[in-house]
Amino acid sequence: MSMHTITVTVNGSREYLTVPSNMTLLQMLRDKLALTGTKNGCEAGECGACTVLVDGEPVNSCMMLAVEIDGHEVTTVEGLARLYDDEAELSPLQEAFAEHNAVQCGFCTPGMLISAHALLQRSAHPSEDEIREALVGNLCRCTGYLRIIQAVQAAADRTRGRSADTRSMSAKTAPKPAGVPFSGGAE
């Protein structure tokens, strides 16, 4: 197995890693960086538990090789809160999940949060159908999804509310690493 040295920014922190050519991004995050918030549910791109952001776009990290992200930015669930506020324990989205009891066993939650975050970055006012579509690749067996959909709607409302309050706009005013997706994603 040939080895490769890669440079990658994970949750704002620059990492230099030596990885085998067949190592997935999921394995790299979990086994090399001990970022175990990203879960392994199927290793086949079917369940969404391993969803992370690569340059702001949600991907199944089990379907991507570590060598492919050389030079790119990765955000995992552990890095979500700091995208909003360096001081925050939880992001508004995470807080909304908590308030709506949108979590039971919690195994799908990290991937769900990442997919929902990506949606809110590209669409500040998602409709219920848009939220459902955005989460279709993230399977949950406990909640029945409705609380999750409601939580995403509430977070969208809250983030909109925050936009009016300049004092709290630390996500926009704080120096951010290049490429971290605040600027609107795909659209």
């Binding site: 990203t38 290793e43 908590a98 949950c140």
Partner: protein
């Protein structure tokens, strides 16, 4: 504004309040540790299993030499070397098959290597020689006298005294229920419906696959880290099977990423322990792939039900005869008790005076049938609830009213002869019919669509041995925060939150002061039988309450002595001891560890407060093996109702469930919103289960063991609205009257959907799974017939 939560939140008397889950911040921040997240360092080895490609075969020879020659391979263990069996109710399952493989996917050997990739490659090199035998897959065929015999040694298996296997056949359990006289009742019936209903094997599909890590130390100490609903039952079963002293086997289980019964008892975990024994000093990790999760752990049993029910012209149910053939799969160590539960509850939640019920668990050459949410009840209610609708229609009675008249009520002598403990099914029916708008005409959203409404009701008792115990410890810290120690597991249902609420309420401290000691660790946690059967809020809740009351009593005695007052005049309110007599106050802080000084510091009284409590039902009796009659078959029943409003697209057969309304009698809602999350999640789980099936080819090989071909409901499939409600008829021996509800919430969803489809289309579907294709073809058949 920072999103950091205010630390000043202060919830007094939290029972009955929807406080935030104790595990919530861990779970939304990515910090929650699941078994696969635990770090074991560079000494960790990885294991893969060698699985049988045949549904039924003798194992003639296993040659591991080529695998053992591979660099990086540390050990190969085969079933020909390890001959021990394991099981809970019927000890019928070898940890690795040695003589005979009984389903496609059965482990016959395991390989340990330095990496998962090497283990996987080496597993392919283990050469197993088989002699194929005839296989049988249908439970009714398997129950016939001429069927291929799957367990010729059944007579030698150890079995508990309330399970009745039939050696020389494939029947691993036969539960007989005889009540009244059905023969004299049939002629009095004005309407009789008799039909056959079939359900396929389905899988739990937890998003977290099974994973186990085991370490044998040279000292003889063995540790198993595992995602488990049953750390103590795993310790017990594995210790007995491998002859490890219980005290030497430690099972540690962090958060479980979904269980639904699939992580109850032992499935693949014993394989990890046996493999670790071969490489002592190294932890060995065995993690199921998604494909293995589907066919190599456990599944819900299949069922064939032949059921006949009759009522008189006024709609009074008079008689029922039913045969349930549970397809138990290759091993029935747990499944026998599902057939038993299907037997002693065989009427569903109805008062029927004359009953003949025969419930069989039958071996088949398919994956292992075992516990799944509902434990036999979703299976039997599928047919019963459709027949009840048909009977109501035949005699011209409203389906909801028919159920109000015939459902079990408090004090009824139910089918086993037991008196029904207090419940209120009628209130549940009233709530769901009101919520769904029962009887109101609602137009479909388009001309090619048909709209329908259906109702179904359910009951379920915790199915378990008569005497499963719970225990708990409550101990204080210097600042009067509290640690609750339990052996119950957090599967997502909220067990840890309930434990904290119960402890806080019984102690008189704010909810936020309580921590739940986790992970569950059999070396340190107090005993809990298993986190199954919807028994934890009730049983663990009682144990935690008893432990908190013990601690509270110790505190009050110390303070009463100190103040020279009577314990009866004192109370603990919001973390302070108060006297109603002298109106004095004493904060718990420091007192709960250091005690209180005597006057002028002439000595001290009190000391570290540590309360302990237990609960075990003591009143359940065995039942007569020929009639199923006895004084007390079960601890209690939880009952509930569901109504469904849906639309069917007649051009495609597509069903859209518009709304599900549910109501259950929970006794007391310890945390109302957590009950709602169970109700919502359960309704979707139940709905999903109506469309799920594990499929096999003619040789018993799985066709769809992946999440693309075995679809579970996604965010775009679920109804727009799920209405949840509950009734609170206190349970005599529940904490503040609470009883369980975690499984019940999905039991009757599939038949409620079937009844709504019939309302829309006047077509009945007796066999699951439902599918758009099946509905379309049924509509097409009717169109052609016209």
């Amino acid at each position: 504004m920072s999103a950091r939560r205010s630390s000043s939140t202060h919830t007094s008397e939290p029972v009955g309040k929807s406080v935030r889950r104790v595990d919530m911040t861990d779970k939304v921040s990515g910090a929650a540790t699941f078994t696969d997240d635990m770090q074991f360092g560079p000494g960790l080895y990885h294991a893969r299993l060698v699985r049988s490609p045949h549904a039924h075969a003798l194992i003639k020879q296993i040659d591991a030499s080529r695998a053992l020659d591979m660099p990086g391979v540390k050990a190969v263990v085969t079933g020909q070397e390890v001959r021990t069996r394991i099981g809970l109710y019927l000890i019928d399952r070898p940890i690795f098959a040695g003589e005979r493989a009984r389903y496609v996917g059965e482990p016959v050997a395991g390989v340990v290597a330095t990496t998962e990739e090497i283990a996987e490659e080496a597993a392919q090199l283990v050469e197993v020689t088989y002699e194929q035998l005839p296989a049988v897959f249908d439970p009714v065929e398997a129950a016939q006298p001429n069927a291929p015999l799957i367990h010729p040694d059944m007579g030698e298996y150890e079995v508990v005294n309330f399970i009745f296997p039939k050696p020389g056949t494939n029947v691993s359990e036969h539960f007989k229920l005889r009540k009244g006289d059905v023969e004299s009742a049939w002629p009095r019936c004005a309407a009789i419906v008799e039909d056959t209903f079939r359900l396929p094997q389905i899988q739990h599909v937890p998003i977290e696959p099974h994973v186990a890590i085991s370490l044998w130390e040279q000292s003889g100490e063995v540790t198993l880290w595992t995602s488990s609903q049953s750390p103590f039952a795993q310790r017990d079963l594995i210790a007995k099977s491998l002859e490890i002293p219980h005290g030497n086997l430690r099972v540690v289980s962090p958060y479980v990423g979904g269980g639904f019964g699939g992580k109850a008892g032992v499935s693949m975990e014993a394989c990890a322990v046996v493999l670790a024994q071969a490489v002592q000093g190294h932890p060995v990790k065995l993690r199921m792939t998604r494909e293995e999760e589907f066919v190599g752990t456990t599944v819900r049993q299949s069922l064939v039900a032949n059921t006949k029910i009759g009522c008189d012209a006024e709609g009074n149910l008079l008689a029922m005869e039913t045969e349930y053939f549970f397809g138990g799969g290759a091993y029935n160590d747990y499944g026998v008790n599902i057939a038993r539960a299907g037997g002693y509850s065989c009427t569903g939640p109805y008062d029927i005076p004359n009953v003949v019920g025969d419930s069989y668990c039958v071996y088949t050459n398919l994956p292992i049938g075992s516990a799944m949410r509902g434990f036999g009840m979703p299976e039997i209610h599928w047919g019963i609830e459709q027949i009840m609708d048909q009977l109501a229609e035949k005699i011209g009675m409203d389906a909801a009213e028919f159920r109000r008249c015939n459902c079990v009520k408090t004090g009824d002598t139910i089918l086993t002869g037991m008196e029904m403990p207090a419940i209120d099914m009628v209130a549940c029916i009233d709530k769901v019919t009101e919520a769904i708008g029962w009887g109101e005409e609602r137009p479909p959203s388009a001309p090619h669509k048909k709209r329908g409404t259906g109702i179904a009701i359910m009951w379920k008792a915790p199915a378990m041995p008569p005497n499963p115990g719970s225990s708990a410890i409550v101990r204080f810290n210097e600042d009067a925060t509290v640690n609750v120690e339990i052996g119950a597991q957090e599967l997502g249902q909220g067990a840890f939150t309930v434990a904290a609420q119960v402890a806080a309420q019984a102690l008189g401290v704010p909810y936020e002061w309580v921590r739940v000691s986790a992970p569950v660790d059999t070396k340190y946690s107090p005993y809990e039988w298993q986190t199954v059967a919807s028994r934890i809020t009730w049983s663990m809740g009682n144990a935690v309450k008893a432990a908190a009351e013990d601690a509270r009593h110790q505190i009050l005695e110390t303070v009463a002595d100190h103040w020279d007052e009577d314990v009866e005049d004192l109370d603990i309110k919001d973390g302070q001891v108060v006297s109603y007599k002298s109106e004095r106050e004493q904060p718990l802080k420091d007192l709960v560890i250091y005690g209180l000084p005597n006057e002028n510091f002439e000595g001290w009284k009190g000391g570290p407060v540590l309360g302990h409590g237990k609960f075990m039902p003591t009143y359940v009796t065995n039942l007569d093996p020929d009639t199923g009659q006895g004084r007390r078959a079960v601890v209690h029943y939880t009952v509930g109702a569901q109504a469904v409003d849906l639309e069917v697209d007649t051009e495609t057969g597509q069903i859209e469930v518009l709304k599900i309304a549910s109501a259950y009698d929970v006794g007391k809602a310890i945390n109302p919103d957590l009950i709602m999350t169970q109700i919502e999640g359960g309704a979707v789980h139940g709905m999903s289960s109506a469309f799920e099936a594990l499929q096999f080819d003619e040789q018993g090989r799985p066709i769809n063991p992946n999440l693309v071909d075995y679809r579970i409901m996604t965010s775009v499939d679920v109804p727009r609205e799920i209405h949840g409600d509950f009734v609170e008829t206190p349970l005599e021996d529940g904490p503040w009257g609470a009883r369980g509800v975690g499984e019940h919430v999905m039991v009757q969803t599939a038949p409620a959907i079937a009844n709504a489809i019939n309302d829309a289309l006047s077509i009945r579907f007796n066999d699951l799974p439902l599918s758009a294709e099946k509905i379309f073809l049924a509509l097409e058949k009717r169109r052609q017939a016209k």
